[in-house]
Symmetry: C2
Subunit: 166 residues, 2 copies
């Protein structure tokens, strides 16, 4: 097979070399968003290394901490989850002793959410991990690029907003 | 409680009104990425309405279709999944008859991936749903904004790249 007359026969139609084509994904913003999310989520969970903490807990805990008394419905809208997922995340955080749910006195159907002191400690720790997790991608952008990206992502999010029933 | 002397007493310290604060999430790109992903994924699955199709199948199928013979390892890297997730997605697609795995003749440890004709039909259908799913957010950006966003997301993704062992 080292004959100079048969070079092609030694090359198998194996994996394509060089750049990978995105094909029909090229024009879907969702794919570019998704693969960054997949990666960041995976590396964050590896840093966190606690299987008992559901994905989404960090974001939910941070939002409740920044908005004490916020409702389950508003929380679901702000993180883009449906009701079942939010309820599972809230159950998870309550089992860990990180949040409390209280019924609204003015509207008994509404649950108001609060973070406990133990939850605040866990949040501070996860915040450190999240910053480490993003250090490399953050450093890859200039301040202006980061601001542009944030503004464009906020614009997108506003337009994918749908009401999530409680 | 309608007395003009006690207006404050009728206002419960209930859910905060107006703008929600992002708190410590304000400076985390990952949160802005995640909530768009959460929303798009949820609305795509609602459009698709087939519980037997795992999240991630559409992206994986599209990449294999655009790069016939690509390896499992390259696929994992391009969509940001770990090995276990990629294997589960490939198993799912094979059960549906959408993809085939073949061992490389030059390296028996490598699996080369191909989309079947039935898989191509399913891909075309899901592509239509994905475009519908993104129609609103796409329309919210100008062409220039969309190009800027894509370029910034590609830059980010390059910097969150880690090698995923096969």
């Amino acid at each position: 097979m080292t004959s100079k007359l048969e070079p092609i026969a030694t090359v198998e139609p194996d994996e394509p070399q060089g750049e990978i084509s995105l094909g029909i994904l090229e024009n879907l913003i969702g794919f570019r968003i998704r693969r960054i999310q997949n990666h960041l989520s995976r590396s964050f969970n590896a840093l966190l290394n606690r299987d008992e903490i559901r994905p989404g807990v960090f974001s939910a805990l941070a939002l409740i901490s920044a908005n004490p008394g916020m409702s389950q419905k508003t929380l679901a809208r702000e993180v883009g989850f449906d009701k079942a997922t939010i309820v599972a995340i809230l159950d998870n955080m309550e089992r860990l002793g990180w949040t409390m749910r209280q019924r609204s006195k003015t509207d008994r159907r509404r649950h108001l959410l609060f973070v406990t002191p133990v939850g605040e400690e866990a949040l501070a720790e996860m915040h450190g991990l999240a910053r480490n997790n993003e250090a490399a991608i953050n450093a890859s952008l200039t301040d202006t690029e980061r601001q542009t990206l944030q503004a464009l992502l906020d614009k997108l999010y506003k337009h994918c907003f749908v009401d999530v029933s409680e």
